[in-house]
């Protein structure tokens, strides 16, 4: 490959768009891909059919493995585009080094493609609820920011019984939220409406507040007594779900959690964020009861043809090799549940995240769900052991704008506690062939 590949024109690219031998690659930040207009472009999102491969990922040792996992093949003509020519060309060169012989670049995305309404683009429907660090920084400093109607922003650093995680460094202005404020350690379900109301009031959150949540991923080890204490960002998804259920209208996640903030070059602080409690939540809790499913409804879902109970657990848990938790004894799966593979264990969500902990390219999540029959026309209730992983998967479906999504809150913990509930173990029939 030459050092400076000849750029395609907008017209050339448009003509190639539906050619199956061509694969578009978007090297802008994942948030731009999802729909954020980070350069004030006329339209947010990505060129239809493009795969997300942010230039940031080319720092990772396994860059070529990510490319292969996305099924970008050496026999494809790869067309790379981004915000900056140098970044685009750097990734294009990397493809050349990786054995891709037909690599082209497109440099007119903002002025040529976005500006022309006739050219097809796609975006994550609820992308404004998955925020980039740049937006958060601007919003916290009181600037008028895009995709926000104004009003108070409460930033929550989530953790599980690990205030030290917050104290060792958090985003300036963040308050700490122990997941135990919102979920009960007896059932691991969401707390009662009155308890959730009191917790939200103490945090200064009303139904109208914009809440942004994040956590820190610090390599949870399943052999630790409290692995959840190291899975802060997963805990943040759990809190986001409970707040949505409670009726907070504008709940957002910092895409990638604390890692994204640090990667963006922003400082963390040890200075305690100020809590400004409010008198009244301002609405009845739960404001969105349909987002949570309990045992009787979970059973109805299992029996209904247009509904799925999606097990967001790991394979060893699903086949009953392990329970997944040091406080759950029984092993196995709920018969009839659909396997929504979380990744390696109860505290990891590799299959729902990019390698920098940002939420996985939404087309990939959508495609993996489609393969197991989890589609937007159905009611999909996600569950895991006690609700954290189920909440993260739920949030992804909710971001897609799916109309009927919920968390089966009780999950395996509740199901397996009642001996009258059936349990299956072993490799299921569909996986044997």
């Amino acid at each position: 490959m030459t050092d400076r590949p000849t750029p395609l024109s907008t017209q050339d690219l448009h003509a190639l768009l539906d050619d199956p031998r061509v694969q578009l690659v978007d090297v802008r930040p994942i948030d731009a891909y999802n729909g954020w207009r980070l350069r004030d472009e006329a339209r947010g999102g990505h060129i239809r059919g493009a795969r997300a491969l942010p230039a940031k990922w080319s720092e990772y040792l396994e860059w070529i493995e990510i490319v292969r996992a996305k099924e970008i093949r050496p026999d494809h003509t790869v067309v790379v585009y981004g915000y900056h020519e140098d970044e685009t060309e750097r990734v294009a060169r990397l493809f050349g080094r990786g054995g891709y012989e037909r690599v082209r670049v497109y440099h007119d995305f903002v002025d040529g493609w976005c500006a022309d309404d006739r050219l097809p683009m796609e975006r994550l429907p609820r992308h404004r609820h998955l925020v980039p660090p740049e937006w958060l920084k601007a919003a916290l400093s009181g600037e008028t920011v895009s995709e926000h109607d104004g009003g108070r922003v409460v930033l929550c650093h989530a953790h599980y019984r690990n205030r030290g995680d917050y104290e060792q460094g958090h985003i300036p202005g963040a308050v700490d939220v122990d997941t135990l404020l919102l979920e009960s350690p007896e059932t691991w379900n969401r707390r009662s409406p009155a308890e959730v109301r009191d917790a939200l009031r103490a945090l200064g959150i009303t139904a109208e507040t914009t809440v942004v949540l994040y956590g820190r991923f610090s390599f949870p080890d399943n052999a630790d007594p409290f692995p959840g204490s190291a899975a802060g960002h997963l805990g943040a998804f759990r809190c986001a779900f409970i707040m949505l259920w409670a009726g907070v209208k504008d709940v957002r996640m910092l895409n990638g959690g604390l890692q994204s903030w640090i990667d963006a070059g922003y400082d963390v602080t040890t200075e305690e964020g100020e809590r400004r409690p409010v008198e009244d939540f301002g609405a009845e809790i739960p404001g969105a009861p349909e987002l949570a499913v309990d045992l009787p409804e979970a059973k109805e879902i299992l029996a209904a043809p247009d509904k799925n109970l999606v097990s967001v657990r790991s394979w060893p848990e699903y086949i009953g090799e392990v329970s997944g938790y040091n406080y759950i004894e029984k092993k196995g799966r709920i018969p009839g549940s659909v396997y929504g593979d979380c990744g390696s264990d109860a505290y990891h969500m590799e299959n729902y995240r990019n390698l920098d902990h940002t939420s996985r390219e939404y087309h990939e999540i959508d495609a993996s769900w489609k393969r197991i029959g989890v589609t937007r026309d159905k009611h999909n209730a996600f569950y895991c052991g006690t609700g954290w992983r189920g909440s993260e998967a739920f949030f992804n479906a909710w971001l897609l704008g799916w109309p009927r999504v919920s968390v089966y809150d009780g999950g395996w913990f509740e199901w397996s506690n009642d001996p009258s509930n059936p349990i299956e173990t072993g490799i299921p029939e569909w996986a044997r062939s």
Partner: protein, 152 residues
């Protein structure tokens, strides 16, 4: 599980630990991009000596790794001798680096080592979380061998 203690030593003395780390940092620092670093690790992985038969057993398997990893530590003549293997070439490459730095050293030196090369080469920061987790599991296992040996 503690390390196997045997009387056979090969008499080999490794160079100073930090010198080896600096050497790796310089080698990897000279690589221009992620593909070059990937190829470097794959090359090291291919060149890693295959441990004698018997290491790929449950007894030596590590949990927490994306690919399968087996590891064994033996104390010989006051030094910790490590052997490891993986079914993934890039992981074998990472193993090769760990062994280059830590193999054949007194357990105390292993325990006290500040492994700065992992950060300076991006090995810790620019690995996928599951591989980084695996790297952590390998380091932990090496540490536990060293701890068990240090008291002997």
């Amino acid at each position: 599980m503690g390390p196997v203690v045997t009387g056979a030593g090969d008499g080999r003395r490794p160079p100073p630990l930090d010198a080896v780390q600096d050497e790796i940092v310089a080698e990897m620092g000279g690589l221009e991009d992620a593909m070059a670093r990937y190829e470097y690790l794959v090359r090291l992985g291919r060149a890693l000596a295959v441990p004698e038969v018997g290491i790929r057993t449950d007894e030596h398997a590590l949990a927490g790794c994306q690919s399968r990893v087996w590891m064994r530590g033996e104390l010989r003549d006051g030094r910790l001798h490590l052997a490891a293997d993986s079914d993934a070439m890039i992981t074998r490459g990472i193993i090769a680096l760990l062994l280059r730095v830590l193999d054949g050293r007194p357990p105390r030196e292993v325990l006290e080592a500040d492994l700065y090369f992992l950060d300076r080469t991006g090995l810790r920061t620019h690995l996928s979380p599951s591989r980084a987790n695996g790297l952590g599991a390998m380091l932990q296992r090496i540490r536990s061998y060293a701890e068990a040996s240090a008291g002997e």
